[in-house]
Amino acid sequence: MADQDPWIRSEMGGTKQAHVISKPEIMVAMLKKSRRSLVIIGNETISGGKRTETLIKLILKLQNTYHTPVLSTAHIFGKLIAHGIKPDANLGSMEITGRLCDPQWKGLDGNGQYDLIFVAGFSYTLLSLLLSGLKQGAPDTKVISLDPKYHPHATWSYPNMKPDAWQAEIDRFISLFSPDNM
């Protein structure tokens, strides 16, 4: 019983709110446990500045260390290549959300559904809805929001953070990457 859980659980807008990522070890553990993970990045990934830099670094590392497939949404595929990332696939954000909600979906490689999703690079409102859709339609899928804003509909989310603090957290996460941690 968290302190701020209403007693009647439906009192506030949501009964299941994302856990706050308090340390990167959590995500490493989830990666280890996961059979199939996927990274989904949205159009704001390339909006520039620190956010882009941080995300690109992280995604490259994920691709390289864990070979996690990366899917880009919207129109950013080409721009990502310019940033040194070659996504494994491109789909609309709604399209990939729909597929993730279909237990029969074969995945990008034909080997079946994913059980762990990282998301980043979206506007807050749009991601909220995508996460809500996943929470509703893919209840068993763990979804980790990497954006520096708290997203209640994710399974795990960073809290609202200043850019520097967030960058430091992502760096800590990356520092844990190693083939042992797979």
């Binding site: 807008g13 159009n43 595929f77 709604m94 597929r99 509703q136």
Partner: protein, 786 residues
């Protein structure tokens, strides 16, 4: 339920015996005595009559639900937590609940248009008589009411015939709304089917409302060369008394124009408008000026320019009385739908009303008689102009004031967190405090003028005003043109483009519709429209989107309406009019089936929808769709098989309808000639989808224009645009081309080299191009084939 009843209207029977004057039995006219077209299976259909069609579409396009929150709070059993597969106290699950919310929105939207139609028709009948003929385009428009013909199976000739249609709409909407009650419908797909029904009814209401006003007023009648009218804050002469009309119901505004004409005041006052009333007003009088879309309300009022604000119904800010009061502008409410708490002065002496308004004794009045509104608005404006000179009426800060305000900002971020577009206000305030207004001015472009930021600022900074101040130069230069709403599409235009569209040789019809909840400014809509007009698609526009397209200038200083023609043919940008004019867009699609393909419309919905779905490469783009009306309009397109793309905020409609190109089995049609099932690829791939960026939207537009009926020539043209846009905007080749290439003849010649290896790799075999249908009833059953 009205199906087998005919309602005959009768003028006045108040006193008892002997006074049945004006009995007017119009059976023939209504049920088509003079209409030799065979009646189809579903005149005045109930939801259930078209359920099979809906389920056919919905089997392809499955709903994806994106709940706003985990709860349902619709009844006092609740709130109920429906997350994680839980059911509410009434037994409902999350999917049905979300589809119920969509249904509620669609019902509210369709009710709004229907009620507006009822109001208009009643008003116009009262003023012009019930035998006033319907006339939307004279001899140029023979199929004058395609939607009504299709849905209701009647051919309306007079205003009074429209009342029969209204009875039907109201009855059906009541039934649909009833199904949203706790403990009624339980199946999400059946809810969705009811949503489609609401949408179809909505298009009937739209057509009816626009037909009524076009018939009676001096609106362009299906005129491709309607005049250009002025648009933008910069076009207004604020030295004159300025009247602002806001809303969707044009009669009061028309009577303002008429009063000023009658009293030779036309040159002495400015009549300006926001939203659809503005659009419809300029259809009546091209000298009136459009300020901008719905989101221009706050900035315009706070500029102090409007002296009197006349508000009717729909899309009007609920705080207008407060905002108007702040700038000492009297408010005249004119619709019982928004009484605004004001005293009803309809029957009072105009002199008394005007004196109360001018003296500020009352902040506003409710006047339900448009004629009277005309007089009072004009006379009040003239008088109030004087008194307002002595008052503080503009709240847009000066540059110096702006710097002082910006200095107050503590950078708490609350404004950004309240802003629908997450605009970076605090950063911009930081620069503004140093005298650099560039960032603030940039925010003006993506600001939808909602005012939420101001409410949360604990430093009491009037943030929206600061944006306007920072963008002062830009604001003053808001001088654009928009072509007045032309109304319907002429039969001859349809005849000419019907073939090219159905064969795919005009690559598509793209309709830009809906509100101004734009994620990144109005310019994106203009950009999209120009792109597709340049590519010789037919671009159609209405409502706030039609304005948004106008708010752009090319290098030569031309607005898109100057750059592109207004004919319904390749390369046009066609403003049909206000929101109710959207029916001319669905109507055009229907008319293709009728005029070009000679299909019967009368009560023949399923066949025609199947025709449109499989043949007419039309797509709706509602980039800033915000309202329940927009939801209803979209739903009407869906049932007709026309896909709709919305902007990122459109995700908040909480439900997408998407196909799955990776499921081959979903994409078979019947060949009407043989009854065989033929794979045709995922065309169109989706029925309703949110695009994250305008680039995604543009690629989707091109893609969703493909249809099974495309000839190879047509398909290869459509593919050219799709691939070209994809490559340019995404920076790569699309990975699904093979799904759209049925045989090598479909491959765009100029792209052969690029495409052939892909096709070879994916192993595409030749497919026939069927005469496509989803309906077994359309199979001609030759050769004993089923």
């Amino acid at each position: 339920m009205n199906k087998r009843n005919i309602h005959i209207s009768l003028n006045e029977a108040k006193s008892s015996a002997g006074s049945l004057k004006g009995l007017d039995i119009q059976v023939g006219k209504i049920k088509g005595e003079f209409w030799d077209e065979k009646e189809g299976p579903t005149p005045f259909p109930d939801h259930i009559d078209l359920r099979n069609w809906d389920r056919t579409l919905l089997a392809r396009y499955k709903p994806l639900y994106l709940p706003f929150c985990d709860l349902c709070c619709l009844c006092t059993y609740g709130k109920c937590d429906l997350s994680g597969g839980k059911r509410g106290a009434c037994g409902i699950g999350m999917e049905a609940q979300q589809s119920r919310i969509v249904l509620l929105a669609a019902c509210i939207g369709a009710a709004t248009h229907t009620s507006h139609g009822r109001h208009l028709v009643t008003h116009l009948i009262g003023k012009y008589g019930r035998r006033t003929p319907i006339n939307v385009g004279g001899s140029n428009v023979d199929v004058e009411a395609p939607v009504i013909r299709l849905v209701c199976g009647i051919k309306p000739k007079t205003l009074s015939d429209l009342e029969t249609v209204l009875d039907y709409l109201e009855s059906q909407l009541t039934e649909l709304l009833a199904t949203a009650h706790t403990g009624q419908e339980s199946d999400p797909i059946d809810f969705e089917s009811k949503v489609f029904h609401a949408g179809m009814l909505d298009h009937v209401a739209l057509e009816l409302a626009d037909m009524a006003q076009i018939s009676v007023f001096d609106f362009p009648k299906a005129d491709p060369d309607a005049e250009l009218v002025k648009l933008g804050l910069g076009t207004i002469d604020s030295k004159k008394p300025v009247i602002l009309v806001i809303g969707h119901n044009v009669p009061p505004a028309v009577d303002i124009i008429r009063y000023s004409q009658k009293h030779d005041l036309s040159d002495k006052i400015e009549v300006t408008g926001i939203c659809c009333t503005a659009i419809d007003l300029t259809r009546q009088d091209p000298h009136a000026k459009i300020v901008g879309p719905i989101s221009w309300q706050l900035r315009y009022i706070r500029s102090g320019v409007p002296d009197v604000i006349v508000v009717d119904e729909q899309c009007v800010r609920a705080d207008l009385l407060i905002e108007a009061g702040n700038v000492s502008a009297p408010l005249i409410a004119t619709s019982s739908k928004n009484c605004a708490g004001l005293v009803d002065r309809t029957l009072d002496n105009p002199d008394d009303i005007i004196s109360d308004l001018v003296s500020g004794k009352v902040p506003g009045v409710l006047i339900l008689d448009p004629d009277k509104v005309g007089e009072i608005a004009v006379r009040t404006a003239v008088l109030v102009k004087e008194t307002r000179r002595t008052k503080k009426v503009s709240f847009i800060p000066t540059d110096q004031e702006l710097i002082e305000l910006a200095k107050r900002c503590g950078g708490c971020m609350e404004c950004t967190r309240a802003c629908p577009n997450e605009t970076p206000i605090p950063e911009a305030m930081k620069s503004a405090a140093l005298g650099n207004f560039v960032s603030l001015a940039e925010i003006y472009d993506s600001c939808i003028g909602c005012g939420r930021c101001e409410d949360v600022c604990n430093k009491d900074i009037p943030i929206h005003n600061t944006l306007v101040a920072a963008a002062r130069k830009k604001v003053i230069s808001e001088q654009f043109f928009v072509r007045a709403g032309r109304g319907a599409i002429q039969d001859i235009e349809i005849r000419e483009v019907g073939g090219p569209i159905v064969l795919g040789e005009i690559p598509g019809v793209v309709a830009f519709v809906g509100c101004a909840n734009f994620p990144k400014g109005v310019s994106e809509v203009a950009e999209m429209a120009r792109e597709f007009a340049k590519r010789r698609y037919i671009c159609v526009a209405s409502g706030c989107s039609a304005m948004a397209i106008g708010m752009y200038k090319n290098e030569d200083g031309q607005t898109p309406y100057e750059e592109y023609h207004g004919r319904f043919e390749a390369g046009g940008i066609v403003n049909v009019g206000s929101c109710v004019s959207n029916a001319h867009i669905s109507g055009a699609a229907i008319k293709i089936a009728s005029i070009f393909a000679k299909r019967n419309l009368r009560g023949n919905y399923e066949e025609i929808a199947d025709y449109v779905y499989n043949r007419v490469g039309a797509v709706g783009v509602a980039w800033g769709a915000m309202s329940q009306k927009a939801a209803a309009i979209a739903s009407g397109f869906w049932r007709l098989g026309i896909p709709v793309i919305v902007g990122p905020h459109g995700a908040k409609y909480r439900r997408m309808l998407m196909g799955r190109k990776d499921n081959e089995e979903d994409w078979y049609v019947y060949d009407t000639r043989t009854g065989e099932k033929v794979y045709v690829g995922p065309v169109p791939e989706h029925l309703f989808i949110t695009a994250e960026t305008k680039e995604e939207a543009m690629v989707l537009i091109a893609k969703l224009c493909m249809r099974p009926n495309d000839t190879s020539r047509g398909r290869s043209m459509k593919l050219t645009h799709y691939i070209d846009l994809y490559k340019r905007l995404y920076g790569i080749m699309p990975d699904d081309i093979h799904l759209y290439i049925r045989s090598s003849a479909d491959i765009p010649i100029t792209m052969k080299e690029e495409i052939l290896p892909i096709i070879t790799e994916k192993g595409q075999s030749d497919q026939i191009i069927p005469d496509p249908t989803l309906l077994t009833s359309q199979i001609r059953k030759r050769n004993g084939a089923k």
